[in-house]
Each structure stands twice: as C-alpha cells, then as structure tokens.
C-alpha cells in the first residue's frame, strides 16, 4: 500500500487555501509561469476511443484521464490522491468499501457528479451488451457478482456496487482485496453520464455531445490527425489547473516527430531507439529517461509440441547466458534501459530484485558456462543448433533480434533464422505456440509484482511459453493472501532463472524529449506513467 493520506490531505488543503491562482506563479512552488499554457504532444497512433468503459489503449487512456475523473487519481510519484472521492472506509475483512464523494464535483453541463454515475458506469462496464474489452477489469477488482453479470447469468443490478445516497458509494467484493482503492485509478472505472449516452447513443463522445467531469473538455477531434481538449470551467478544482489547452497530434513516424519537435511544433515526443545519448549531449535540459514498469524478454516455447531441444534446460540456460544484456542496453538501445536477469522490474512498488547466480557473473563467465552447457546438450560449432526467432515489426525489436542472433552465433555457433511478423500474425503464431523463441514484452497492469509473475503461472492466458511448474503455481497462489509476499516472489524468480522458460533481457525506460519549460512538472517518478495534464505546467523562461 502506497496510499499516503498525508499527500491527499495536503493537496486538498491547497484546493481550499488557494481558490484562485496568483497571476503568473505556481501556487506551490512559486515558479513564474509562462503566458502560453498550451501543451502539445505526439502520439504514435489514433486512440481507440475516449469512452472510459470502451477505451483500451495507452494514448486513449491518457485522454480519458484528462476528460474524466474517477474516485482516485495518482500524483507525480504514483501515490493515490483523491479525485471525486474524498476518502473511504472499509469493514474489517476489507470486503466492503464505502467511498465518500465530494459535493462540489460537477459535470460539464452543470449536473452534480453523484454516486449513481459511478454505479451506472460500473454496471455499464460489466454489461455484456457494452462488450467492453476491459470487462474483465471488474474481476480484477474482485467486485461481487462480476462474473455472473459478465456472462449474462445475472442482471447488471446484481453487481456489488450501489449508491447509498448521492455522495456515498458502497462497493461489495467477492473477497478481501487490500489494494482495492488503487484499482479505481484505472480509466475503465471512471463515471459516465447516463443522460448523454441515452440521448446520443454511440455518438455521445463526439465533441459536440460529450459531457465530462474531468479538468478538460473535448473541443476538437480529427481522426488520425489531432485531438484538442481545453480547460473545463465546471471542474471542481479548475482554479488549480494551469495548462489551458492540450493538443495531441498523431505522428506515426517517430523520426518525423522528432524533427517536428526540434522545429518547435511539439512539447513532448519519444526518443527513437539509439538516439538518447546524442540528444542528451545536445539538449541536456530536454532529453530524459526514466524506468518504466515493463519487462522485455524472449519467451521460449516449452509446450508439449515444442521441439525437443527447447525442452532441454541446458539449451535454454545457454541461450540466456550467451546474451550480453549490457550490449543491448548500452549499445543497441541506449535509452536508459536496465539489463534484466530476473523478470519483475526493480521499479515495482515493494519489490526487491532477488540476486540470482548468473546475474553476478561476468559476461565472459556466462559465455564460457553457456558453451559448456551447449556441449553437454550435444551441440557445438561443428554440430550447430538451428532455431528460429520471431519478433513483430518494429525498428527496436529488429535491432535487438539482430544483436541477439549474432551473440548466439558468435558465442555458441547457433544458427538463428530471424522472422519478422506483422503484429496480428505474430500474436497468433505466439499464442498458438507455433514458434521456437519469440520476442515478448509486458507492462504491469498495476504496481505490484504479481502482475508480472502471474505470467509464469500454468493457467495464465498470457503464459505463451506454456511453462508449467506446480511449485511456482503454489507459491504464487499463497502470495495472494500473504502480508509480505516478497519471499515467495524471490523463490519464483529463482526458479525462473534456473528453468529459464523465458529469457529476461531488459527493463524498459521511457525516453522522451520534453521542452525544458515543461520537464520540471513531468511525473518522471510515476513508473506507470499515468500523467494528468491538470498537474502539468509550463514555467516562464
């Protein structure tokens, strides 16, 4: 639990203490603010939707977090801060949560935000007719009757959520969930205005119809080109909102985006793989890299129909040992990534990276060991192992795959055939275990180690290696109810390092160019990168 009531109190105190901004200075830091508070950033691709219950992609969620506000928000460091809720109480076994909603929260059409709006939104999410791709989130939240409602076996009204009165929301869970409040920062739990949806149907999210309760209103949307959101005067904390206007531009090519950033058209863009050092040298105030809650790894097919050689643990270990992670992070990607020898990123809250043997060796030792293991398994340079490596179309994946295939070739004599597949084909191939080794990446759904380690559970839908280890399953099942599951997580990581059903390669970093007048307010310490435009500001230069 990282919820700090202190931070929450502090920020609401500010809301009360400074109803209007002193002209041109930041209310907390006292920095002088720039006159033009327009934030323009690049997105890779058109967002899927701005409907909180429908949206399923990162860029869409970023927009939804500006347009709508849920029970809780995250601050710069990823801690919970009150949103529409001011606080909550819970029963002893943490199965019933009662949230108190603030009475000054309003929709952009002037109606108050009530507990009923949340009930409607959550029922809408679980309703099979809505057909949301995030329906399962109700199960992650462990809400009572979620499964039955989703399958259509129970009416939506059976969902364990109800409005006691306009400002009190009661949620009943299937079982205890200590971190329930954390799950309410997810966009699919944000309230939606029933009257607008009833009036306009699927068109309710169009700029001319939409009703929002967040800090910004949607004012313009041109698909695949731009989306504009502007200050919402009805937002309860509008006085503390500094950025007036947010513009997201769809620019598919990251190199073109960088050129446009350099020409001053953007305030923020991603740094293409390999360019971070050069940009850091030329623009030290603008280039930034920070750890993300994501792991990059190669998954090895160990299912029943996998080729025999991959079922040999020595081969799997040798392949892992022969990869020089430092070269991948320091020479190929060069964007602040950290080498990975274990699966869960060190940035995960409350998780301590266990020390596994091969992480402590030098690369020469690892290579030597790998050659020995290969020899034991019956392969050497005169009798080379042949395998295929698939990855999905992307510059960065290609670079890593090329480097890894050469490491395997040069160290072990393994003949690797690289196969670059287009995204959906790739997912299909990997999901049906028609591969030998496949590139994979995973970003945490929430900030806790189980979101990563669940992937090696035998029953997990995301376990593309089809790794099956009863001991791991048991350790993970036990961890769910433990107060401090670190010991179990350590053991699981050690088992993975020994069995090597997946080869961890690196932990992601976000590397961005952010204009120097904005970078100070960017939440670089929020590893989930849940940012809110209302918390950003541009200082005067």
């Amino acid at each position: 639990m990282t919820f700090t009531i202190k931070a929450a109190l502090l920020s609401s105190a500010f809301a009360l203490a400074s109803p209007a901004l002193a002209a041109g200075t930041h209310p907390v830091t006292g920095e002088k603010l720039a006159d033009d508070q327009t934030f323009t950033y690049r997105v890779l691709d058109e967002h899927t939707s701005v409907d909180p219950q429908i949206v399923e992609d990162v860029s869409g969620s970023e927009i939804v977090r500006d347009l709508f506000e849920g029970l809780y928000n995250q601050d710069k460091d990823g801690n919970l801060v009150p949103g529409v809720a001011t606080g909550y109480t819970t029963n002893d076994d943490k199965t019933v949560y009662t949230f108190t909603l603030r009475d000054n929260a309003k929709w952009s059409d002037g109606k108050p935000v009530t507990a009923g709006d949340f009930v409607y939104a959550w029922q809408r999410l679980a309703d099979p007719a809505t057909a949301s791709e995030y329906q399962w989130y109700m199960e992650v939240m462990n809400i009572k009757n979620a499964s039955a409602v989703m399958s259509g076996d129970a009416p939506v009204t059976d969902l364990g959520v109800k409005a006691i009165d306009d400002h009190t929301l009661e949620v009943t869970l299937e079982g205890s969930l200590p971190y329930f409040a954390k799950t309410t920062t997810h966009t699919s739990t944000f309230p939606t205005p029933k009257w607008a949806i009833d009036a306009y149907g699927a068109d309710w999210i169009k700029p001319e119809n939409i009703v929002v309760n967040g800090a910004y209103k949607l004012t313009e949307h041109v698909a695949n080109e731009r989306l504009v959101r502007e200050r919402n005067e009805m937002y309860w904390n509008n006085d503390n909102t500094i950025i007036d206007k947010v513009v997201s531009l769809v620019i598919n090519d990251e190199n073109v985006a960088l050129t446009r950033y350099q020409a001053g058209e953007l305030d923020r863009t991603e740094i293409p793989a390999g360019q971070y050092p050069a940009l850091k040298a030329s623009n030290p105030d603008e280039a930034t890299a920070f750890p993300r809650l994501c792991s990059y790894y190669y998954t090895i097919n160990v299912s029943d129909n996998a080729p025999e050689f991959l079922k040999d643990v020595r081969v799997r270990q040798a392949l892992s040992y022969a990869i020089d992670r430092d070269i991948i992070t320091e020479k190929v990607l060069q964007g602040g990534q950290t080498p990975a020898y274990t699966f869960t990123p060190g940035a995960t809250a409350g998780f301590e990276v266990p020390s596994v043997d091969y992480a402590t060796w030098t690369q020469d030792e690892r290579n030597a060991k790998a050659v020995d293991l290969m020899a034991e398994a019956g392969y050497d340079k005169s009798n080379p192992l042949e395998l295929s490596l698939i990855y999905n179309t992307s510059e960065a994946h290609k670079k890593v795959a090329i480097a890894v295939s050469q490491m395997w070739k040069q160290n072990l004599g393994v003949k690797v055939s690289l196969e670059n597949q287009e995204w959906k084909t790739f997912l299909n191939t990997r999901g049906e275990q028609n591969y030998e080794i496949a590139r994979a990446g995973w970003c945490g759904d929430y900030n806790e180690a189980s979101t990563f380690l669940d992937l090696v559970q035998s029953g997990s839908g995301y376990n593309d290696a089809k790794y099956n280890n009863a001991m791991v399953d048991e350790l993970l099942a036990d961890a769910k109810t433990m107060d401090d599951p670190q010991a179990n997580y350590t053991k699981v990581e050690e088992i993975i390092a020994a069995d090597m059903p997946l080869i961890p390669i690196y932990h992601y970093a976000g590397s961005f160019m952010i204009k120097s007048n904005l970078i100070g307010s960017w939440p670089v310490k929020n590893v989930e990168q849940n940012w809110y435009s209302k918390d950003l500001y541009k200082v005067a230069e």
Partner: protein, 362 residues
C-alpha cells in the same frame, strides 16, 4: 464500326506499313498512331458515331452494369482474403478471456457464419448505406471515417493530380517544342530525377528542409486544409507523376511533330502556333490520358505514405492499417469506395479518350 475499320485498313494500308513497320512497336503509341492514321483517312465519316448522345449513354449504362458485379466480386474476394489472414480484430497482446471475447463477437455479429456476416454487411450497405462499425476505433463507424478522411485525401489528391497534369504537360510540351535546348535538358534532367526518388524518401527530406532548417512550413497535420499544410503533401505526392507525365508528353509530342501530317501542315506554311495548338496537341495527349488511370491508382497508394509521414488524417493510412488491424468493416468499406472510384475514373478516362480519338469504340 467493323466496317469502318476495314475500310480504314484498305485506305491506309500502303502508308500504314511505313508508319507502323512489322515488329516491335512501342506500346501505346503505335495503337494511337493507327487510330490517328485512320482518322486522317476518314475525314468524311469521322464524327459519324461516337460522340453521339445515345452511344455515350449506352456506354455509361454498360459500364455501370459491369461495375456492380465487379464491386461484389471485389467485396467477396477481399472479405475472404481478410478472413483467412491469421488473427482477428480482437487478437491482442493480452488475450481476452473467453467470456469477454464472446460478448464482443456477439455485439458485432462475428459469432455468425462468414456468409451470414457478409450478407448482413451487404444488406446494411444497400438498405441503410451503413458500412458498419470500426472494430478498432470503437467510437466511430466506417461512415464517420470516410466522411472525415475522404475529403482530406480528395483535397490533396486532386490538387496533386491537377498539378501533375498541368505542370507535367506544359513542361513536356515545352521540352518537345524546343528540343535539344537548355529547357529540354533541364526538363529531362529534373523529371528523371524526380521520378526515381520514392516519396517515402522525399517526404522526410521536405520536412527537414522546410520545417526544421528553413522554418517556413508546418511539419505536418491538416488543420482544416490550410494552404501551408497542403504544400508538402502535394509536392511529395505529385512530383513523380508530374515527371512521368512530362516525359510521356515530351516523347509523344516529338513523335507527333515528326509525323507526316505535321510536315504537310508545315509545308503548307501554317504558323508554328497553329500547328501545335490546332493539330499536334490533341494527338500528343493521348498517351498521357491513358496514363491517368495508373497514375490515379498510384496516388491512392501514395496517400498512405503522405498520411503516415505528414499526419494528414486521410483515408490512405486507415486503409493500409485496417489490413494490419484486421478491421474488417473499415477495410471493406474503403475497398468499395476506392474500387468504385477507380471504376468511375477509368470510365472518365475512356470517355476522354474517345472524345479525343473518335475511332475508339465506346
């Protein structure tokens, strides 16, 4: 028509051999030449038939009658190809739980047999002009996507197209008339250079020059079609077609200028201007017109790169990406749109062709 042709054969046979030779004729030109020669020998009957209103009407009717089954075949073929591609619209990095997937498929009718889906889709188009929903961009329909993206593509497409024809045509014509002058060399050099530079190379170079170094133009976006946002897309899209058209016009103009009837005209002492405008222009444009069809299709393809690099929001990007996203309805809606555009365009080209060369049977 048959009769006319036979007659022309007899009349022209003697000279035809001289003009056409036996083997190895250049593609369009010889054909055009034949048509042209026939025209010269058939002065009296030349306007006999083809531009007659009824014929034109019949021609259009016939083409439309063929267009409908064509579109249906196109629809079925692309639907089938799409369905046989691995993965579906809801295949994602995080496989959806079975129940969720079932709910979604039920909502979009994807749980039904393929032929039922196809039938429902066609019925939707015919009865309500509804091209279905986008599975990827869930808050909009294919109609929305077309309504928004198509005008964008059309705007920069038409401007590029007109520019390519006008500039290319004038340049080619000028080069031919002043053959072997500096103008000619300049035009040839420029056009060959422009023709071989792929637009995915040219577009980023334009952005580097005009946006980053000179700071004259915005590096992308559409902004409602402001002229500043139009310049680079139009240059990137039109240049190679402009070059092709200039080359085509130049070579066909040269041939026309060397032809017998122009020599005759010169012998008669007609002024150059009259010769060119009155006699040479129309025949010289024939190969250019036959090139317009492929150029149009090429520009549709090229619009993907324009949208991808300049972020203009046209349908080119949606189209290619709908294949990658397995966004069936978007893919089919745009196939129908672009297919019918192509059919219509080819029809217009044929009519134009017949207008210039009445020997062509409509």
């Amino acid at each position: 028509m048959r009769q006319l042709e036979t007659r022309s054969h007899q009349l022209g046979a003697k000279y035809r051999k001289f003009l056409v030779g036996r083997t190895g004729k250049s593609p369009g030109l010889v054909h055009i030449w034949e048509q042209f020669w026939r025209r010269l020998t058939l002065v009296k009957v030349k306007r006999a038939a083809l531009l007659h209103g009824d014929r034109m009407f019949n021609f259009i009717l016939r083409r439309v009658a063929v267009a409908i089954p064509t579109l249906i075949i196109l629809l079925i073929a692309s639907f089938w190809l799409m369905q046989s591609a691995p993965g579906g619209p809801f295949t994602s990095e995080r496989p959806l739980p079975a129940q969720v997937l079932a709910n979604i498929e039920a909502k979009y009718g994807l749980d039904q047999p393929t032929y039922v889906q196809l039938w429902n889709y066609v019925v939707g188009i015919v009865t309500e002009f509804d091209f279905g929903p986008s599975y990827k961009y869930k808050d909009r329909s294919v109609n929305d996507i077309i309504a928004q993206g198509f005008p964008v593509t059309l705007t920069y497409g038409v401007i590029s197209f007109v520019l390519a024809i006008v500039v290319g045509g004038v340049l080619g014509m000028a080069a031919a008339i002043r053959q072997n002058s500096w103008l000619d060399y300049f035009a040839v050099g420029i056009t060959i250079g422009a023709q071989v530079l792929p637009n995915f190379v040219m577009a980023p170079i334009l952005i580097l020059i005009f946006t980053l170094w000179l700071g004259w133009l915005p590096g992308g976006g559409w902004n409602g079609g402001e002229w500043q946002h139009l310049i680079m897309p139009v240059i990137a899209l039109s240049t190679s077609y402009m070059a092709s058209i200039a080359r085509l016009t130049r070579s066909s103009m040269l041939e026309v200028l060397r032809s017998n009837f122009i020599r005759t005209a010169r012998a008669k002492g007609l002024p150059d201007r009259t010769i060119i405008y009155r006699h040479a222009l129309k025949p010289a444009l024939l190969p250019v017109i036959s090139y317009l069809g492929p150029a149009f299709v090429g520009m549709v393809t090229g619009s993907f790169i324009i949208d991808a690099i300049f972020g203009t929001g046209g349908i080119g990007y949606f189209y290619v990406n709908s294949a990658f996203n397995r966004d069936y309805a978007v893919m089919m809606g745009l196939t129908i749109l672009l297919g019918s555009m192509t059919i219509m365009f080819n029809m217009v080209v044929d009519i134009l062709y017949a207008w210039i060369d009445p020997k062509i049977r409509l």
